[in-house]
């Protein structure tokens, strides 16, 4: 069964070129990618993830608000009983924030140099095959 991924852009920045490139690469790797558009609140992202029953959420944030937004998504997922959904981060994330985000439960942080192949490989390796 295809892996289902939600690609979401929390926060107020208005650029989704990068997120779209990743979304297309994941599609080309055979995944079903739900793209929700710009300026999503953590609440909207989590509700969409639940309705779409995704295996993983890829968050992308360029505005610098990732330290507030990413952990909030995790918190809401747990509140809704969906703590098993994998969450990754990308965008412009200073290196010193990476360990903190991982400690909060973000599965992986993809820096600006990450290739699509690396992201695909990470997802394939870490998403549990459904039974």
């Amino acid at each position: 069964m295809p892996i289902r991924v939600l690609v979401a852009k929390p926060g107020l920045d208005g650029h989704d070129r990068g997120a779209k490139v990743v979304a297309k690469a994941l599609r080309d790797a055979g995944m079903e990618v739900i793209y929700t558009g710009l300026r999503q609140t953590p609440g909207q992202i989590v509700e969409a993830a639940i309705q779409e029953d995704v295996d993983i959420i890829g968050l992308s944030c360029l505005s610098g608000a990732h330290m507030a937004l990413f952990p909030r998504v995790l918190e809401l997922l747990r509140e809704r009983g969906a703590g098993d959904v994998l969450v990754t981060g990308g965008g412009i994330i200073p290196l010193e924030d990476v360990p903190k985000l991982k400690k909060a439960g973000i599965a992986e942080v993809f820096g600006p140099g990450t290739t699509s192949d690396e992201i695909v490989a990470f997802i394939r390796k870490n998403v549990k095959q459904r039974t």
């Binding site: 994941l26 599609r27 739900i34 793209y35 999503q40 779409e52 029953d53 809704r80």
Partner: protein
């Protein structure tokens, strides 16, 4: 508690999970689906079809907002084609529906056709059952009106909206192929553009030619989905169609037709599987090979498969 029961209590995660299992063709949910079918049938199912970019998702967003304002709950199933090469899909209809995403009276699900036209109609019919059981008053199904699979998806709904846009003569021409006949309502969206009157005249003419006089004459409604112009009128017409179906005693007939199609589709699917089940892939390939080498007509290959099956029984 089973998933079906959980769905009936309003458990949205359970609904989402059940739809995934339907999409995966998981046989273990058969009893759950039977349960939903036998208890269900409340929802009004509305199909929205039209060419790519006609504004279907934007329109559905506005329809849902209007129905919410009128106290109705709304389920949405947006079907998009998958890539024939990788099986992957980019499902972007939610982009147009952001305002609805945290409303608990709304449930939106994106589905990919997974390269199988018959399969997606089957999965859509069952996904509709889930949203019906979840208590959605209206269930809207979006598909691109391009081919056979889309027409098949529209078979599962009560009311079909065909969305066209002005300006492109060929757009109206394009709907001739099979979609004109299934439309219960026609929407000229993007009515803020030039050519609305021409589009209306052309549609009227085509409808005139094709219409059988029944209790319902398909209306043409002009909308600007982006701003919401024409939406209350459209909602009124859609609800009118639903009322007409029930008032005229057509609901039972409509249900029977929908069910007949669904049973026939399932039967075709299962019959093929069952016929082929005793045929190993090698045997089947050998037969195809003979057809390809012009030793056998396809008819005779089929007869051979069916004959072998009978002998074994």
């Amino acid at each position: 508690m089973g998933l079906a029961e959980k769905v009936a209590t309003g458990d949205r995660r359970a609904a989402a999970r059940l739809i995934s299992m339907i999409e995966d063709g998981d046989e273990s949910v058969r009893t759950e689906l039977a349960d939903l079918h036998c208890r269900g049938g409340r929802a009004h199912i509305v199909g929205v079809t039209g060419s790519p970019g006609a504004g279907k998702s934007t329109l559905i967003h506005k329809l849902a907002l209007e129905w919410r304002r009128r106290g109705r709950t709304v389920g949405i199933i947006a079907v998009d084609p998958s890539s024939p090469f990788t099986g992957g899909a980019l499902l972007g209809d939610r982009i147009r529906m952001q305002e609805l995403s945290t409303d608990r009276g709304v449930f939106i699900r994106s589905m990919s056709s997974r390269g199988n036209p018959g399969g997606v109609a089957k999965a859509t019919a069952d996904a509709v059952r889930v949203l019906d059981a979840l208590g959605m008053d209206k269930v809207i199904v979006e598909t691109v009106g391009a081919g056979q699979s889309e027409v098949a998806v529209m078979d599962v709904v009560h009311t079909v909206l065909v969305v066209v846009v002005p300006g492109l003569g060929d757009d109206i021409q394009a709907i001739k192929a099979g979609i004109l006949e299934i439309g219960d309502l026609f929407v000229i969206n993007k009515a803020d553009r030039d050519g609305v009157e021409a589009a209306q005249r052309e549609l009227e003419m085509m409808l005139e030619l094709s219409s059988e006089k029944g209790p319902w004459t398909p209306p043409i409604v002009k909308t600007v989905a982006r701003t919401g112009d024409g939406i209350p009128e459209l909602v009124g017409k859609i609800d009118e169609h639903w009322e007409m179906i029930r008032r005229e005693g057509l609901l039972e007939e409509s249900e029977r037709q929908r069910c007949r199609r669904e049973v026939l589709e399932l039967l075709k699917h299962k019959a093929v599987l069952s016929l082929l089940s005793e045929y190993g892939p090698d045997e089947f390939d050998a037969l195809i090979h003979d057809v390809a080498r012009r030793k056998l007509h396809p008819h005779d290959a089929v007869e051979r498969i069916m004959g072998d099956k009978k002998r074994k029984n």
